[in-house]
């Protein structure tokens, strides 16, 4: 399985074979392999990759000391973000390898993970698409959620009842999106459809699981 980290740039329209595609443009890579985990080493086959290089001075400021030492030990430049990818053949990678956006090609299916836009403490209408009440005609019931349960039996509110609360800023994965275009020169990848998060948000792009 292939994977790369990137930042969302925004959306646009691209054409392919005379058809228009609404795509999200992601600036992905380069990612550096920082650590290898192997089955023989008592773990599982995976690579840990870093994204967004930091200068040593900057790294000292924003990273913890153990992390800085970790990068030093691996003889790679310090990175802002670390993520792990389980890979099929661990021998394809060595520590210090650079993963570029070119690992993906046009027409491939990918899963994109990111954090959705935070909407704060939201009411039931926004969060769960409840209908609410009328705005006028003498109504006194506007944006409320209505009844939350039964009476003396069961005399409680069921767990998981859809109510107001924190909405957004959760980890979301959109599966089976198609890669429309890869610009290896600029490190850009255009993915058909929308992906979670705001512009500038961190995204994990992996080849589709199914």
């Amino acid at each position: 399985m292939k994977g790369i980290l990137g930042r969302k740039l925004g959306m646009t329209t691209l054409y392919k074979d005379g058809k228009a595609f609404g795509v999200t443009v992601v600036k992905a890579g380069p990612c550096t392999v920082v650590q290898k985990k192997t089955l023989e080493g008592g773990e599982y086959d995976a690579i840990q990759v870093g994204f967004e290089e930091l200068t040593p001075e900057r790294a000292k400021k924003i990273l913890t000391k153990p992390l800085v030492k970790k990068f030093e030990a691996a003889k790679v430049k310090p990175q802002r973000v670390l993520k792990e990818f389980k890979v099929g053949n661990i021998n394809d990678y060595t520590v210090g390898d650079i993963i570029e956006v070119g690992v993906f090609s046009e027409g491939e299916k990918v899963d994109v993970t990111g954090y959705s836009k935070g909407r704060g403490f939201s009411g039931a209408m926004k969060r769960w698409n409840f209908r609410g009440g009328e705005a006028s005609h003498g109504a006194k019931f506007h944006r409320e959620l209505g009844s939350v349960g039964n009476h003396t039996e069961p005399a409680k509110i069921w767990k998981g009842k859809k109510m107001a609360g924190q909405y957004g800023n959760e980890k979301k994965t959109i599966k089976n999106l198609t890669v429309v275009k890869v610009d290896a020169e600029n490190g850009l990848i255009a993915i058909y459809g929308a992906v979670p998060g705001a512009r500038g948000g961190l995204l994990v792009i992996k080849s589709a699981t199914r």
Partner: protein
């Protein structure tokens, strides 16, 4: 950030279309597919406005068709089915979106722009 998106869009931007603005009378030739056959259809009318940027840029053309029914069509500047655009008359208008022509009774009168 925007420069990267523009760099992807650049490939699809067309230079062969003339400069058009609101109030202009234009004839737009559109390729239409009917089954396996392809033909070109012309749509003639007044440009009501231009919106958007990059590959999302489009313009609206309005004509009054048979039985006085107004027809408005929106054309993306980058659409591959856009064969050509001819400017028949340059119009002089005071606003960027001339939606008021929808409510004009009788013939829409727009002064010609002379340079």
């Amino acid at each position: 950030m925007d420069q990267y998106i523009r760099s992807l869009e650049n490939e699809f931007m067309r230079q062969d279309l003339p400069e058009i603005g609101p109030g202009d009378t234009v004839r737009v030739s559109v390729r239409i597919k009917e089954g396996n056959k392809e033909r070109v259809q012309a749509f003639e009318g007044i440009v009501m406005g231009i919106r958007g940027s990059g590959t999302g840029k489009s313009f609206t053309v309005r004509r009054v068709g048979a039985a006085g029914v107004g027809v408005e069509r929106i054309f993306p500047f980058t659409s591959p089915s856009l064969e050509k655009v001819e400017v028949l008359r340059k119009g002089k208008v005071r606003r960027a979106k001339i939606y008021y022509i929808r409510n004009v009774k009788g013939k829409v009168k727009i002064k010609e722009k002379r340079d």
